[in-house]
Every structure is written in structure tokens, then in C-alpha cells.
Symmetry: C2
Subunit: 318 residues, 2 copies
DNA sequence: TCAAAAGTGTTATCCTTACACCCATGT
DNA sequence: ACATGGGTGTAAGGATAACACTTTTGA
């Protein structure tokens, strides 16, 4: 018997913006269903590159033009793509879906009037990732379940400790994907039981574990957050999320929103200054609630003048 | 008319090892043809994950077992996959080939007896990337061609300067892929004219530009080198390339081979010491040519005990 | 005894961290 | 006047870069 299996390539976009000091993501949520990422099939006949295809269908689906775009990862595991709508090309064969995830950054969370499309705060899907107000309550809620999973396996326990900052381990904000994968492996993420065709467990922890998404979209979202948090430090990507003119506090809040940790104000500014990444505009923003703040701009011209790294993250210990 | 186009997914592996102080890559080179990477089709019906598929066919093709493996990037541009052998699944339709590149690291460049398979020094494909002996002669050879390409475009000139360390710009060893892409865009890489169906230009520069590979394999190789050079600094990946016991000089030579820059001996050692990444074994290696060196081992157990970063690269200015 | 490579000491400088305090505006 | 956020000075400690020198082997 001939193997009838074929492949369909799906493209998903994690579109990120900053809104009211929070990191938000563009989601598509049909009435009463789980949220998903903007998603579309890649047409091997028509599209010249993945990126062009991605830009085209995100615009079509959300009426939204993408700016900065980068590829994240290609996911091909069998069994983690179950509930995807059939992307059918009409031949009725069993198709294996491969999904290529992309990260896109935009300076404004423009509200689109596209149906079912909405910006959602990142923390909704990963409540335990937000340490801006100190150790999140969600983590305390998950901790017993993690220890339960680790049981008497020293390897499991070590991994849980390291990733979730248990027993005094330091928090490493970059390891979003590894944390999500552990939760999936431990059967704590609702997606895990769903992919196995079982009923959901751990209902009580639902709020602490974060909202699930269709297909493997939450995994792609975790990949995006990991990548972005890492990249902050070695490339000036935050500025892709800022308007032309911004205050230093707004910049700091944006970095904090992405990294999910509180930063030390003066050390953050000193690092900025030393790197000569921004430049004061002389104009003031009076809507700050206190003393008006000077507006700054990113010296984009640096990018073609010299190698330019990202920002250091001087932590504020609470 | 119905679009008959389908997709085939190809997996390629960049398998890296250290041999005689040089970084080498596993290549497949049928008699009289260009070199390529170990490569195979992904079977959507049979393979559960990409990684399993990759391990299986690399072993089949080169009789070689992979250790550390990570995904690099998925390439899907039309027109850069021209000379790939037909991966035919027998339906005769025009298939679009998508290639997923992987990076694999191994501690020993085991010679396999598989036909057409050989280890090749990395510098053979990228002669201008090796700065261990100072600014490489290959760069001086390419420089006029780069300036020629830049012409009177300030953007092109700025990019060339930044990437190829012209006019006093510092060398950034990580940007291997960007450099290769510029050479491709400039029509200097032989692959560029080939993909356009034209005759090769720049024969005179051939040695300085490096040996071309089939399909987009040199692009995948450049991606691998970029990733590996970057990763050196924030993950202890070098140790995946070392045997159980090694001397500190051998470790330094391995790092230098990958990064392509000379390092400052004592500062390199001090950084190692501070990080407590390695541990002396008390045993000596007498085959060093001079005073015997103490053997060390990587404290692998650290990986599950605390977050562990890579090595700093204290440059030795010549 | 000399070449070759291993291994160590020390200083100046810069960056990071961690303090605490003053400034300009709206209410 | 006081609350609110904007913006600054400075000193201690640690990391890095740069210098040159001693040690142990084989030929």
C-alpha cells in the first residue's frame, strides 16, 4: 500500500505590541472557542517566501500590516496538532501539518475591526511569567503540583527547581518555553490531556496555569516570549515596539513588560546613556502625572554605522 | 487549472567536530560533484518528529550517531533550491522543497567508511571567517569586489564595512550568515549566478570566497556557524565537542576554532575558573610537546544544579 | 641547554550595583 | 503643601584587559 500521507505547511504569527505598559499579542478567537494565533496555510505554488506569505495572510485576516518579522521555529511533532481545522486542499488525503512560527513586533496595538480578532495580554496565557510585582501568586499555586510531578525523581525535581525558581533558585526569565514544555510534560497544561484525547485534569489550577490555546499555539507563543526576552539583551529590538518619540520611563516599562521583571531605574538609564542608543528631543511629555518627562528617540542610524547590542537588564531586587 | 504543487520537506544536518585544532563538518561529496550536507527527506507518514527522522537518516547515510542536536532554521525561498536531486515520491508533480536545517555536535570526528562521506574543515567553505592568525588574506582579496558592489550606495557601503570589518570597523565573528547573504546578494558567491542559471563570474576570487555547495547547503552551514559562535557565549556548548578529559589548551583551541578568533590565554583561564565550569583530574597529558598539561573535565552535573552560561571570549589583540 | 608549551602574579581601568537625594509639575 | 513621577551624584566591589614572568618536560 502506497503511503498517501502528504504535508501541509501552516504559518503562525505571534504579533507583539505594548499597550498600557503590558505586552499584548494579537489573537483570533471565534465565539465560544479557544484563542489562537493568526494562522494560514503556505501555498507552495503561489508564495515566493514564507515571510511574504505570512505578511499577506495576516493582513488579510486582521487588516494589520506587520513591521519587524523573524522566524521562530518549525514544529513538526505528531500528536500536537490535533484540533487544527482541516486546511484541506481538496484531495481528501491524511495531511500532516507542519507549523512554522514567526515573531512580529509592532509599535502600536492598532485596534482592527476584523471579526474575532483581539489583543490579549501575554500574562493571560502565562500568569507565572510576570515577576514585575515580585514572585507571582500563580507560581505558589503551581508549586505543589510540580513537586507532585517530580515525586522522587531527582532529575525531575532538579529541573523543576531550576526552571520555576523553587527552593531559592534564581528566576531566569528567558526560559519560557522550557517551563511550558515541563508543564505540558507533567500533564499540567490543559493542552496535554487534550492532545491525548483525555478529559482535563487540574481544573483548580486553571487560573495559575494560564489559558490554553488551540493546536500548539501556546507553544509557539512561549517560543516567541523566550526569543524576545533573550534578544532584548543583544539586539535593540525594544525600539520596534516603541513609537517614534517616547519617555525613558515608557521605554523602561516596555522592557519590563517583555522581560517580566522590575528594573533599577537609574542603572537602566546609565546603561542606555553609555550605549548612546537614544537621544533627547528637547520636547516634553506633560501627561505623566508628575514632573513632565523629556521625549527621546532611538538613534536608528546607528544600525548601519556600528554593531549595536541590546540593553542590559539591571534588576531591581525587591 | 488546479495548482498541482505540493511540498516536500528536506532535513539537512550540519555535524560539527573538532579535529587537530580545526572545526570540521561532515560532508557528502559524490565523485566529481560539489559537496553537500547529509540530507534526507522527511516522511510525514512514518516519522514522529523531525529530530528522530534526522538521526535516522544521518546514521543510515554516514554510519554515524548524532549526539547534541538543535534546529537551526527552515528555508523556503523559491529559486534557491534548484539543483536538488528529485526527492520523488513518484507522483511526478512539481514539488516545492522546504529545507529544515539542524546543527549537531559531536566529541569525535569518527571516520566513517560510508562512501562519499568526509570531514571537511569549515574554513574551506568560509576562508574569510578564520581570524586566528590575524586578518585573513581572503578578506583583502574580496575587499575590492565588495567596494565595487557597494558602488555609490551609502547603504551598501555601510553594510559591507560593518560586516567585513572594512575601514577600521571591528570584526564581529557571529555574523557569518549575514556576510554570506551579502556575498550572495552581491553576486559574488558562485551559488548566486548558478541559481539564476548564469555562468559563474569572479573566478579569480574563487579561493577567497570559499568552495560552493549544492543547493542552499552553504547557507545552512553559515547559519550553523552563526548560531554556534553566538551560543558559545551563553551556553556551555563547547563541551559537546570535547572528549571526557581534555587539557585547558585543547579547550581553548576548540573555542578558537569555532569562534575563529585568537583568545588571551590567561584571561580565558581565569574566566573558566571563576565560572567553575571545569575541574582538574590530577592526571597529566604528556603528549603536548612541552611541559605536560593537566587533564580536566566538564562538570556536567552543574547543568541540573544551576543556570550555567557559556564562556566569555577574552580577545587577544594581535 | 634550549625550545616549547604549561601555568601563575599583579595592576589599572571600567562596569555594575547599591546606596539616597533633588526637581518640576498638577491638585 | 504634598503627592507623583522625572531625573541625578557617588562610592564600593567585581570583572576585564593588559602587562611579563616562572615551571616542567622532550630533544
Amino acid at each position: 500500500m502506497e503511503a498517501a500521507a502528504g504535508v501541509v505547511i501552516g504559518l503562525s504569527a505571534v504579533v507583539v505590541a505594548i499597550r498600557d505598559g503590558d505586552a499584548v499579542v494579537l489573537t483570533v478567537r471565534p465565539r465560544g472557542q479557544l484563542a489562537g494565533l493568526p494562522f494560514g496555510p503556505f501555498d507552495p505554488g503561489g508564495h515566493r517566501t514564507f515571510e511574504l506569505a505570512l505578511r499577506a495572510f495576516v493582513t488579510a485576516q486582521t487588516r494589520f500590516d506587520l513591521g519587524y518579522v523573524e522566524q521562530l521555529y518549525t514544529f513538526g511533532d505528531k500528536g500536537r496538532d490535533a484540533p487544527l481545522a482541516d486546511l484541506g486542499d481538496g484531495d481528501g488525503g491524511a495531511k500532516r501539518v507542519i507549523s512554522v512560527g514567526y515573531l512580529a513586533l509592532t509599535p502600536q496595538a492598532v485596534d482592527t475591526d476584523a471579526p474575532d480578532t483581539a489583543w490579549a495580554a501575554w500574562s493571560r496565557f502565562f500568569p507565572y511569567e510576570d515577576w514585575r510585582e515580585g514572585r507571582p501568586a500563580a507560581l505558589a499555586a503551581i508549586e505543589p503540583a510540580l513537586r507532585d510531578w517530580a515525586g522522587s525523581s531527582p532529575e525531575h525535581l532538579a529541573r523543576a527547581r531550576l526552571l520555576f525558581a523553587l527552593d531559592g533558585s534564581p528566576w531566569n526569565e528567558e526560559r519560557v518555553l522550557e517551563r511550558y514544555e515541563l508543564l505540558y510534560e507533567a500533564g499540567l497544561a490543559p493542552e496535554a490531556s487534550r492532545d491525548r484525547g483525555e478529559a482535563a485534569e487540574h481544573e483548580a489550577l486553571a487560573a495559575a496555569l494560564g489559558e490554553p490555546m488551540i493546536s500548539d499555539h501556546r507553544r509557539i507563543l512561549a517560543t516567541a516570549l523566550s526569543r524576545l526576552r533573550g534578544k532584548l539583551k543583544y539586539r535593540p529590538v525594544v525600539f520596534e515596539l516603541m513609537p517614534e518619540a517616547f519617555t525613558l520611563s515608557a521605554l523602561q516599562r516596555a522592557v519590563e513588560a517583555i522581560a517580566g521583571v522590575p528594573l533599577h531605574k537609574q542603572n537602566f538609564r546609565r546603561a542606555l546613556e553609555r550605549a548612546e542608543l537614544v537621544e533627547g528631543l528637547g520636547r516634553l511629555d506633560a501627561d505623566t502625572g508628575g514632573r513632565p518627562a523629556e521625549l527621546h528617540r532611538f538613534r536608528r542610524e546607528l544600525l548601519s554605522a556600528r554593531p549595536v547590542s541590546g540593553l542590559s537588564l539591571p534588576l531591581l531586587r525587591d
